[in-house]
Point group: C2
Chain length 192, copies 2
DNA sequence: AATATAAGAGACCGAACGGTCTTTTTTAAG
DNA sequence: CTTAAAAAAGACCGTTCGGTCTCTTATATT
């Protein structure tokens, strides 16, 4: 990887944190300059526009997020452990070094409500992927006789994701993990 | 109510929709001028800063929201009907004429993450009030023998609000009410 | 109808925005 | 070591931002 590629990657890493913490509108080129130590010329040499930086940053966040989920679930032998690993990531989304600023998907979904139609599809895909992961955990649990075969995997997956996202927002707002704790506790009680 | 008061109220009404749909940062004075038909001088005669408009608009949204909830619940005789009325408001938050743009609380919670510390307390209070309303519905249901007396009102209220907020975001993003429908269905099944 | 005051218009301001362009410096291949 | 190309600097541009200030118009009280 030559200098140019390294710098471009570095800009994306730094920017993704900015976009996720203070949002698209508030992340100015000036902020990115400060965070990277580069000047305007250096940044616009690698990207044609702020939107292009935002897109690259969001993709990077998504990739990181997905990796984290899959890696956490892998090597777990029971559905219960998998679900625990999954929820643990949600718990850490507030303090995670890389993904600081909460769930990138939810943030993008709320802010890019009308504008940024560019990333709207990516956000949809991201959520769909998360639901799919939860669904696969539930279905795995059924084959292991951990989870009642009557539960509707898709529907329950939607409930789990929705409640986790809502609780994450509440916990971040109140700077109190109890909301996430409460929701996770009840989800477990519901499934196992 | 004299002209000045009418105009100020009108600015707040129009602005609250703007803030809730496109967010604080994206709602410029220019946008407010367009929405109200007033010029800069007319707007800043009634407010000292954009933040002051934002605060007034948010308070107005909160008040409207709370009114809607309480009014919907009143005159309902069973907890089941009350909960149904409550969830129905959530369903309509996407299409409501006044509160267009989703849940004002969630929008504010996500966007005013670091900045706008001004309204942070109001957002917290707003969420606490919603949880309290749900809690009271559940407790009413217990006295009516509709709901199992063993359920923890507070905890379940948090789960319900979290999942509704999450599902609302999903439904708005995908322009598909099914997420809210699914979650509401499961909440009902859980309680009744 | 007169008039004091409330309400609003709109030109103006400095700062910050995203983005361009020329110049300088750094990198890396021969 | 030389040199062409890649990378970065930073002055500059037009636009939009939130906000001010003066001047005009509308309101409401006597």
């Amino acid at each position: 990887m030559n200098k140019g590629e390294r710098t471009k990657k570095y800009i994306i890493e730094q920017s993704s944190t900015l976009f996720n913490t203070i949002g698209y509108k508030s992340t100015s080129i000036g902020e990115i300059m400060k965070a990277t130590g580069l000047k305007k010329g250096g940044i616009f040499y690698h990207f044609d526009s702020k939107d292009e930086i935002a897109e690259a940053s969001f993709s990077y966040s998504l990739m990181t997020l997905k990796e984290k989920y899959l890696q956490a679930i892998n090597s777990k032998e029971t559905a219960k452990e998998q679900l625990y690993a999954f929820t643990k990531i949600f718990m850490n989304l507030s303090s995670d070094d890389i993904l600081v600023g909460g769930c990138p998907l939810m943030n993008a979904a709320i802010e890019a409500d009308d504008s940024n139609i560019l990333i709207e599809d990516s956000v949809k895909e991201g959520f769909a992927a998360l639901i799919e992961i939860i669904k696969s955990i539930i279905e795995f649990g059924k084959t292991q006789n951990e989870i009642d075969k009557q539960v509707n995997s898709e529907e329950v997956a939607v409930l789990i994701l929705s409640s986790l996202e809502g609780a994450l927002a509440l916990s971040r707002l109140n700077k109190d993990k109890k909301y996430l704790d409460l929701v996770i506790k009840q989800i477990k009680a519901m499934l196992f």
